[in-house]
């Protein structure tokens, strides 16, 4: 096709940005209906125990309270968290959780009852009047402890709810033949999404008796879950997705949807439910904390010969997406390196902590932290430059990893690393007590879902009579330009001005289901679908134009709503061809479904097959200043280099790179959601600290385009890859600055200080 793109790859202003700047966008909580009730979730205040008595009588009697729903009122009180949007059961377990706790609560904050009242204040007052008598049980709060046979069991008879393995070669023998062996234990923390917009939605029943849920969500397919819980047909539950005020995986699992469904179904009246920031703290899932033991062996020329890893993730009180997060970790566990002998054992374990599930990078970020730390430790033991060691072992296109994953795109890591370091420029000198250090970390991060989930994305594209274009897609928009890319692709292929293309989106009944905005799949899946649909219409148009112009279709192009012949220079307005098609009954709209490669589900625990379509390769390099006397670390400058395949909207790509890096800085240095024996300690944004404008370095985004991605125009994905390598780049820089290896995140001043002291 065209090499000189008109809109692809440009810095393009998004359609909704002006509206966002003007404050006119109606987010979930901004929406109100007449007669609307206000919902509130009543939650457990113990981490583990039986509910002996639940007394809602006083609350129900409060004037203005419309209804209180408990587990007994829920038609199907079990929510099955199979990978949403799909129908295949995967992994070792179905992930079931109670919609409302009936006899037992397993984490502090678990929902027990739902209230709907005339005002939010009355709903809060009612919540205070609900009395629960608990019989507390001894819980377990450490996943390593929870693996032991004598540990309290959270569900059933085994706290280990997922296991994945990688086996290749013989690590035992291989280690014997290594010149250096480096073994370390790494630990990571609960991270909170901390999107600025709380989970929120409004529900009502329309004139067709359909339950409408207008919610801030990354997954409009949740309507199936809601329908199942209510025992109503799936055709009678509709989700309209709003413009989302941040997600990062926090709005991937079901949030307010099923509660709204219950409240509207019970009362028949419109209901709004918005979580408080505290509820977002103790009531919503977090990133899995990991404990990882990694052992690497290499020969003195720098070839990594063997790797052994034991990975334990804290699944919290319910399974949710833990097995899939663990699967990502297991596949990514080697880092982007070719290693002949590999043994990985990964476990996900239940505890009475807050449940854990999806979060940007989805299991790759933890193992990347460990691997990239190991690479530097290995380099130290070999007396090699850390980047040179990596370069000797990087994956190449065509390689098959120990988990059976074929690498099917260009691996740009070497060049990315060089570019990132070059961008940093010369390292400044240390002025005690501030030590300057430089660190590099590499990452690979899949884009597109696991292939045995048989992912599909449907998008409808249609031409108006005047040549303007409509795209209909269910894809939610997280702010990363998910919808915007569809506009650009349609505009590019159909040869119309960008302003003439409108995307109608995110309605589970009125727009084709394009799947979730998760797993960095949006551009790959929906972009390809839009490309398919647009190309089909383009072909139809050009075929008809060729017929009319008596030219070969191949010599025709569409430029600015005009069909142009490169041979004869003849021009016909697009509108004229559309008119002909219309009168001949030739449709100029189509629904296309893009299918990702389909593979069989993994049989057993050992992974020995492709799991992902492709990966985005990235390198982050940074300079830090370590205050040796306090342990405080500041990132001075950070270069983040990513091969995005092809950038569709350069502004958006940079925005993801910068935003992901800053979220990574938070993960590395200051973010930690803390529970002590299951009791939350950091519920507000005053205690759970995310970076402010004063915490960011100079950020240099570097965009490389190998054109070898599986997305439209050779694009890959950037949403998740942008965060994956930040933390180890920082901890490697800390080592360079001050000679201490931080093996536990976050690298708070205190942690760094005592590491320095005990050096």
């Amino acid at each position: 096709m065209m090499e000189n793109y008109k809109v692809i790859g440009k810095r393009v202003e998004g359609a909704d940005e002006k509206e966002k700047a003007k404050g006119t966008v109606v987010y979930a909580d901004d929406f109100t209906l007449p007669g609307m009730l206000y919902g509130k979730v009543f939650r457990s205040t113990i981490p583990f125990g039986k509910i002996k008595k639940l007394d809602i009588s006083k609350a129900l009697a409060l004037e203005g309270v419309e209804t209180i729903i408990t587990a007994a009122d829920v038609p199907n009180n079990e929510s099955v968290s199979n990978v949403v949007g799909q129908t295949t059961e995967v992994g070792l377990l179905e992930a079931k959780h109670q919609v409302l706790a009936r006899n037992i609560v397993r984490y502090y904050g678990e929902p027990i009852a739902l209230i709907a009242a005339k005002t939010y204040e009355i709903a809060c007052d009612a919540a205070e009047l609900i009395k629960v008598e608990y019989e507390e049980m001894e819980g377990v709060f450490d996943p390593v402890e929870a693996m032991k046979p004598e540990a309290p069991k959270i569900h059933g008879d085994n706290n280990i709810i997922a296991r994945w393995k990688v086996r290749q070669g013989n690590v035992k023998d291989a280690f014997k033949n290594c010149d250096v062996v480096v073994e370390n234990r790494y630990k990571t923390q609960f991270q909170e999404h901390a999107h600025i917009e709380p989970e929120s939605g409004v529900a009502w029943i329309d004139e067709n008796g359909v339950i409408n849920l207008r919610v801030s969500t990354q997954v409009i397919e949740q309507y199936r879950d809601v329908a199942h819980v209510l025992g109503v047909p799936e055709s009678k539950v509709r989700i309209i997705g709003t413009i989302i005020g941040g997600g990062f995986g926090g709005k991937e699992d079901i949030t307010v949807e099923v509660f709204l469904g219950l409240l509207v179904w019970k009362t028949g009246k419109p209901v709004k439910l918005t979580y408080t920031r505290e509820e977002m703290g103790y009531g919503r899932h977090k990133r899995h904390p990991y404990v990882m033991r990694y052992k690497h062996g290499a020969t003195k020329d720098g070839k990594i010969v063997a790797m052994e890893a034991e990975i334990i993730s804290d699944s919290g009180a319910y399974v949710y997406l833990s097995p899939w997060v663990l699967l990502y970790s297991t596949v990514h566990a080697t880092g982007p390196y070719m290693i002949p002998n590999v043994k990985v054992d990964a476990y996900s374990v239940l505890t009475n902590n807050i449940y854990t599930s999806a979060f940007r990078s989805f299991g790759a970020i933890q193992v990347t932290y460990a691997v990239e730390s190991q690479m530097n430790e290995l380099a130290k033991a070999l007396n090699m430059n850390p980047l040179d060691l990596r370069k000797k072992n990087f994956l190449k296109r065509g390689d098959v990893t120990a988990s059976g994953q074929k690498i099917d795109s260009y691996v740009a890591l070497g060049e990315l690393a060089d570019k990132a370091l070059e961008a940093l420029g010369p390292k400044k000198s240390s002025i005690p007590p501030y030590r300057i250090g430089r660190g590099v970390a590499c990452s690979w991060q899949s884009y597109g879902r696991m292939t045995y989930l048989h992912d599909t994305a449907s998008v409808w594209v249609g031409l108006e009579l005047d040549g303007s274009v409509e795209v209909r897609s269910g894809i939610p928009d997280l702010g990363g330009g998910q919808r915007e890319s569809l506009r650009q692709i349609a505009a590019e292929i159909l040869g119309v001005p960008l302003d003439d293309v409108i995307v109608y989106s995110t309605d589970s009944k009125l727009t084709p289901l394009t799947g979730t905005v998760t797993a960095t799949r949006a551009l790959y899946m929906s972009g390809n679908a839009v490309k398919m649909a647009s190309n089909q219409i383009r072909n139809t148009l050009l075929e008809k134009a060729a017929e009319i112009m008596h030219e070969s279709k191949d010599s025709l192009d569409i430029i600015d709503k005009t069909i142009v012949s490169s041979m004869t220079k003849k021009k016909i307005p697009m509108r004229d061809i559309i008119k002909v098609c219309a009168s001949e009954g030739i449709p100029l709209q189509t629904l296309s479904t893009f299918k990702a490669p389909f593979t069989k589900p993994i049989d057993g625990e050992i992974i020995k097959d492709n799991v992902f379509v492709d990966f985005t390769f990235s390198v982050q390099a940074c300079d830090v200043s370590v205050d040796e006397e306090t342990g405080k670390v500041n990132v001075i400058r950070l270069a983040a280099a990513h091969d995005v395949g092809k950038s569709i909207n350069l502004n958006r790509v940079e925005g993801q790179i910068e935003g992901g890096a800053v979220q990574g800085i938070g993960y590395a240095l200051m973010e930690s959601y803390i529970e002590e024996k299951g009791i939350p300690k950091t519920n507000t944004l005053a205690e759970y600290l995310i970076p402010t404008s004063k915490d960011i370095p100079e950020i240099i985004p570097i965009v490389m385009e190998s054109g070898t991605g599986k997305g439209p125009f050779g694009a890959k994905g950037i949403g998740e890859p942008s965060i994956t390598a930040t933390a180890p780049a920082i901890t490697n820089a800390i080592y360079d600055a001050a000679g201490v290896r931080i093996k536990e995140l976050p690298a708070t001043p205190e942690r760094v200080y005592f590491a320095l002291k005990n050096r």
Partner: protein
């Protein structure tokens, strides 16, 4: 107990009778000014930032009655019917907006800064928005946008 209140919001007098415990944020949102966002309701995130008699502050921890007889400006006071304020234009131009939820508050802090100090340094810009949390952009493009306007860009 209910109290009479009158606040001029974006040039329009709003009169009502409210409970004393009503925050300025809830007052504004319940009167249709939903461009003022509730992110945390505790003064920690800045999404609810408005100008009260020219001073940018978090409306969620301000009693509505403390703004009685005062002038409150929200982000909607910046733009005209078709014309964007230079700050809004710069935010769009520099792609300083992703999900957009922090944007109204962020713009008001920027406005407060430029009203007080028309040509701030980059460090002063960073300080001025240090109470506005953004989780999407990483702040860089926001700072670039404000700096552009501070340097005379339109």
């Amino acid at each position: 107990m209910k109290h009479d209140i009158e606040i001029t919001v974006n040039g329009t007098k709003i009169k009502d009778s409210i409970e004393a415990s009503t925050t300025l944020l809830d007052f504004l949102r319940s009167h249709g000014f939903t461009e003022v966002k509730k992110g945390c309701d505790k003064g920690d995130c800045g999404a609810c930032t408005v100008l009260i008699d020219g001073a940018a502050t978090t409306s969620c921890i301000t009693l509505a009655l403390q703004a009685n007889n005062k002038e409150v400006l929200t982000v909607k006071s910046l733009n005209g019917w078709r014309k964007l304020h230079p700050l809004q234009q710069a935010f769009v131009k520099y792609e300083a907006i992703q999900c957009g939820f922090c944007t109204p508050g962020m713009l008001m802090s920027a406005k407060w800064l430029l009203d007080k100090n028309p040509h701030p340094t980059r460090a002063e810009i960073i300080d001025a928005i240090s109470g506005n949390l953004c989780r999407c952009t990483g702040y860089k493009k926001i700072i670039d946008a404000i700096e552009y306007v501070a340097q005379g860009g339109k």
